[in-house]
Symmetry: C2
Subunit: 256 residues, 2 copies
DNA sequence: CTCAATTTGTTCTCACATTCACAAACTTCT
DNA sequence: AGAAGTTTGTGAATGTGAGAACAAATTGAG
């Protein structure tokens, strides 16, 4: 079926089937664009259509998709449903991913109620908090479990992905406990750098960092205008501003 | 004081004082590491110390810092307080940044209560929601204002940065209204691609995307082990796993 | 069947980012 | 003062990603 043995395709250069990180980070965006098109009853789309839906340029999109295989048809475009399934399969969304959320403060609550999980194969298997007073409390469909049961929960539910939404001080301990229990991927919302053994993935989501990056560019914009921030700058810094537009770094939430 | 006029430093090659995006994204991490060191009473630190605190390698850290200027001392290291101030100034954290949060659902609540804002010069000037029933409701120190007052709030407070925490459907409209009111930087939590005029920065934080990226790597890990995910893989995929570790993409929250 | 129009998949080139490796600059010890 | 030891700042090499451009493949019209 696939011409995977041939060296003719550039996948021959990637015998490990590895997809570039930058591409992996965009696949979920394409997936969402495809879902949107599908819901509008559109059965087929060109790379140009898809790209504008996803907010990227079409050459990049085509190259990204080419890492997965040749799922388009020249002269026609891509079958929306088919491509959607292929991307979902590549990312691993055709299987169920039970996750556990540790730390049910304000953010933990928001995450627990977030509707975007279930729709993409992620199932919140359990909520855990260290505060005994909170244990038993209901959040959405779930009740908060004791931190002591963390290891049991992870093992019984086959949890591979853990979400840390604790204060910074607790993050490393929670991380260690999650890893000891068998979790191999961690999404960290605590403002702390986590040390993990090789083979464990950590991704960090840090609100304050995103704001600081915006502040940096904002400051440069007003410096360019010098005297009056609200006035048109004397020398329009076109190149400067153009650079900053595409700066986009992932993450979705829905105020469910 | 500074030898900024000389061409001797490589900043002579960057007359626009532009700092690479990748570096800008790491400065907040360094800043946090410096704050942590400072709180532990450490007055001086080498690039090695700092790098391990920040979770990066020391060569990268030195190169990043070199874009700001020569704030270290050879044979000694960096003065923690001094460097901290310099980075804060470069990012623009020495000034006050009033922000407005639009959409006070679960996530909006969490953001409104997030303590990491104030500590870094960000001040939540106002909370806005379109639901009239919510207007007047207290969240933390603030009360929710009407969406109709958005433009007035932005102008009166000199808000340059807006945070969108609405459902996806409302995001583009809110974005347009923010931009029309004068906001030039937007942090978007809604799972939608925003179109903005040139000169406006958008950064996106998308939880579900982060989870999907983790799922992709997780799937690859278990594929490497083939038969028994819980067993040691027959051929240890060392290179594979090593790559994934440093994958980290910013954002901080504290379950205040 | 042939030709024109369309659109993908891929190659090539350039820009950006990371890492190495070392000279320059500073401290400390003798 | 001089030598030995540290540690920064940076040039050079390598790796990764983005975008332009085009050949190959497909459709549809005549």
């Amino acid at each position: 079926m696939t011409s995977r043995n041939r060296r003719s395709t550039h996948r021959g250069d990637r015998p490990d089937r590895g997809i570039p990180e930058a591409t992996v980070a965009r696949l979920p965006v394409y997936l969402r664009a495809l879902t949107a098109l599908s819901e509008r009853g559109i059965a087929s789309a060109s790379s140009e259509d898809l790209a504008s839906s996803a907010g990227v340029n079409s050459a990049k999109l085509r190259k990204d998709l080419s890492y997965l295989g040749s799922y388009g048809t020249r002269g026609v475009g891509y079958d929306v449903e088919y491509l959607r399934y292929q991307i979902a399969r590549e990312i691993g969304l055709t299987q169920d991913w039970p996750v556990v959320i540790v730390g049910i403060g304000n953010l933990g609550h928001a995450l627990a109620n977030y509707s975007g999980f279930a729709s993409r194969g992620f199932r919140v298997a359990s909520l855990v908090d260290i505060d005994p007073a909170r244990v038993g409390e209901c959040v959405g469909q779930l009740t908060i479990a004791s931190y002591d049961d963390l290891a049991t929960i992870v093992r019984d539910n086959g949890v591979a992905i853990g979400v840390i939404a604790t204060p910074a001080g607790a993050a490393q301990t929670v991380c260690d406990d999650l890893v000891a229990a068998g979790v191999t991927s961690i999404l960290n919302f605590a403002p702390a750098v986590l040390a993990v053994p090789a083979g464990v993935d950590v991704r960090k989501v840090d609100l304050s960092i995103e704001l600081q990056i915006l502040a940096y560019h904002e400051q440069r914009k007003s410096q360019a205008g010098q005297n009056h921030p609200l006035t048109e700058p004397l020398t329009p810094p076109l190149t400067d501003l153009a650079v900053t537009d595409a700066a986009t770094v992932a993450v979705e939430v829905e105020s469910a």
